[in-house]
Symmetry: C2
Subunit: 363 residues, 2 copies
C-alpha cells in the first residue's frame, strides 16, 4: 500500500477525530477508496476502537432513489439508530464516476435527501470528518492524471496542521470581532453582510480533511447585493455554471445560472432557509493551487471566498443568536484572484487573493 | 446489466424475504458484487422499502482484526442498534480473493467473531437471506472460468422454488417423524444419532439462496460413532482437509485433520457446544452438480450429507426441547455418491446418492 495512504489514515484517526479505545466508530468509503478504508481499519484496530467499516455505493443509492416515488421516501430508522450509538464518523469520498447521480431528477434527489435529514443532523453532533481519496473519477473531473491527482490530494491533506492553524488564526482575529463584511469582485459581485455576534471558526483539518478555511455565519436578514459564483459548483452530479444571486433583506429575490439552472432552483426551493445565506468562508490552504471541481478542495483555496445558501454551521453561532436553518447547505465559490477585495469594517483585508498579513499585499 | 442479476434480485426481495413497503431493509455486499446490490436497491425502491445498502470489505475487516488484540475485541453497539431496528437483512457474498482472512490467527478470528455474536443472534431473528454473487474469487476457488461459474450460480439460484419445495417435502415426510438416523460411507464413516422430537425444516430458498436441503437437529447427547468429512471445508480462508471426528455420548472425544488442523481445533475449542452436533442436513438441489469449495452450494448437493458442530438452528427445535447451543456453527460434508447409505429407523432411504423416491434407487 502507498505509504501516503497510511499517513492519511493516521491524520484522520489521531488529528481529525481523536479516536480513543472503546469509541464506536463508523467508517464509510466508496469501493474506489477501499485502500484508505483498510488503512483506517488498521489504525482503529491498533487503537482498540469498535469499528464498523463499510463501503458505500453511489450506484445503489441512485438505483434506489430512481426507482422510488418522490412522495414516498421515509427515514431509515435503522440507520438513525446506528448513528445515535456512534461516537465518531469518518466519511471518505472517491468515486469512479462523479456523474453517477446525474440522471436523477433534482426534485426527487432533494426529496430523498430531506427524508434522511435526521441522520445527517445526528451525525453533525458527533466527532466527524469528511475526506477525499484520490480516485479516478475525481481525477478525471479535475482533468488530471490519477498520478498527478494523488500528488495534489496528499499535498493538501498530509501536512502540518498545527502550522496551518497558526496561519489561519491571523484571519480569525480580524473576522471574529467584525461587524460588516463586503465582498467585491469585478463588475459582477458586490455583497455586504453583517457577521456581528457570530463566531469565526478556524478549520485546520478536523471536520474537513483537507481543512484550510476560516468561516462564520452571516446575520440572516443582513445580506444585500449581488454575487456571481464564477467557479465550479457541482451538485447532484451536475455542474451549475455561473450561478448568480441577488439578495434583499437577506433573501434571494432573483437567481440565474448559465447551465443546470433547474438544479439551482431545486436547492433554493427546498425550504425558506435555502434562500438565505448560512455561511461565509474564506479559503486559506496554499497547498491547494488549482480548481478541481470538488468543493472540499476548491473552497479552501487561498484566492477564494465561498458562501453557502442554507443551514448555518452550529459552531459559528453562539447560544441565543438568531441563525439560518435549512435542510440544505450548498457552498458556492467566488474567485478573488483578480480585480477583487474583501473589506472588513471598511478596511481592506485581502486584495486580489493576497491577505493583509502575507507578503505582497497592496492595500 | 446481465438480466440474470435482476432475476436474482427479484427472488431475494419477493421470494426469500418478502419485503413490503415501509420495511427497514439492510443489504450488505462485497465490492465485487456491487451489480447485485444495485439490482436489489432498485427492487427496494420499487417496493417502497427503507433501504440501507452498503458494501462490505473483507480487507478492512482483516486489517482491523489483525491489528487488534485478541483479548480486547468489544461488541459494536452501534451495529447492534441498527440491527435491532431492521426488519429484513440481505447478505450477499462474492469476493475477489477468498483467502483474504487466511493470515489472521484462528484464535484471534474466533475471538473477534465471538465479540460480535449478539449482532448475529439479533439478525437470525429477522427475515434474512444469505446468497452468492458469481465473483472471480469464488470462481477461482471452484477452478472454473468466471463465465462458467456464472452459469453454475444462476442455474442453482434462479429456479422454480415451488417445485423444489415439493420435491424436498418427500424427504421431510420421512425424517420429521423419525427416531434414529444412521449415516454410513465406506470404511470411514458410521454415525448414529437420534432426531426424536426435533422438527425437520424444508429449505427452499428462503434463508439461503440457493436453498435445497432438508435439515434437523440431533438430540445433543445421542451422537455415536465416527465420521470423515471427505469434501471441501473452508473456514477463515483456509481449507480443512479430511477432518475426522469421533463422538461418544454426543461429544467429540477425538479429532484430526490432514491440513489446517489448528483451524478445526480453534473452532472445536470455542465453547462446550462447539464439540457437539447442532445440525444434520441432507442436500437435495440437483442443479448443484459439482463441488465448488463453497458451503452455501456444496451442502445442497444431492449426493451429500452435512453435519454441523455448534449451534442448532432454532426452527428445527420445538419449544421445550433440549438443543445444542454454541457461538459457532460449522458445516462439514460427507460425500454419499458411492458405497454409502442413509438409514432412517432401520430402513435405507438413500443409497449411493439416490433417494428412495427417485428413479434408479436400489434399496
Amino acid at each position: 500500500m502507498d505509504p501516503r495512504i497510511r499517513d492519511h489514515a493516521e491524520i484522520l484517526t489521531d488529528h481529525s477525530t481523536q479516536v480513543e479505545a472503546g469509541d464506536n466508530v463508523l467508517v464509510r468509503a466508496p469501493p474506489a477508496a477501499e485502500d484508505l478504508a483498510v488503512a483506517v481499519a488498521e489504525k482503529l484496530g491498533e487503537i482498540g476502537a469498535n469499528a464498523s467499516v463499510t463501503l458505500s455505493s453511489t450506484r445503489a443509492t441512485r438505483a434506489f432513489v430512481q426507482a422510488g416515488d418522490t412522495d414516498d421516501f421515509e427515514l431509515n430508522e435503522h440507520t438513525l439508530a446506528m448513528m445515535e450509538e456512534t461516537d465518531v464518523v469518518i466519511i471518505i469520498k472517491g468515486d469512479r464516476n462523479t456523474a453517477e447521480m446525474s440522471d436523477v431528477p433534482p426534485a426527487k434527489h432533494t426529496a430523498y435527501a430531506e427524508s434522511q435529514r435526521p441522520i445527517v443532523d445526528e451525525r453533525t453532533n458527533k466527532r466527524w470528518v469528511g475526506t477525499q481519496f484520490p480516485a479516478s473519477g475525481e481525477a478525471q473531473k479535475a482533468e488530471m492524471s490519477t498520478e498527478a491527482y494523488e500528488e495534489f490530494v496528499y499535498g493538501a491533506v498530509n501536512k502540518d496542521w498545527d502550522a496551518q492553524r497558526e496561519h489561519q488564526s491571523q484571519m480569525v482575529e480580524i473576522l471574529d470581532p467584525a461587524d460588516e463584511v463586503r465582498i467585491v469582485s469585478g463588475e459582477t459581485t458586490d455583497l455586504t453582510m453583517s457577521v456581528a455576534g457570530m463566531k469565526t471558526a478556524n478549520d485546520y483539518g478536523e471536520k474537513n480533511l483537507p481543512g484550510g478555511e476560516v468561516f462564520t455565519a452571516p446575520v440572516p436578514d443582513s445580506v444585500e447585493g449581488e454575487v456571481l459564483f464564477d467557479k465550479p459548483l457541482v451538485r447532484q452530479g451536475r455542474e451549475i455554471e455561473d450561478a448568480w444571486l441577488r439578495f434583499e433583506d437577506g433573501d434571494v429575490v432573483e437567481h440565474d445560472a448559465e447551465k443546470n439552472e433547474d438544479v439551482l432552483a431545486a436547492v433554493l426551493n427546498t425550504d425558506d432557509g435555502a434562500r438565505r445565506l448560512g455561511e461565509l468562508g474564506i479559503g486559506m490552504n496554499r497547498d491547494i493551487d488549482r480548481f478541481t471541481y470538488n468543493m472540499l478542495f476548491d473552497e479552501k483555496m487561498g484566492d477564494t471566498v465561498h458562501l453557502a445558501v442554507g443551514s448555518a454551521i452550529r459552531e459559528t453561532v453562539p447560544d441565543g443568536q438568531t441563525y439560518n436553518e435549512s435542510a440544505v447547505h450548498m457552498d458556492m465559490i467566488v474567485d478573488m484572484a483578480e480585480d477583487s477585495y474583501i473589506e472588513v469594517d471598511d478596511e481592506i483585508v485581502q486584495r486580489d487573493g493576497t491577505f493583509r498579513f502575507e507578503d505582497g499585499f497592496e492595500g
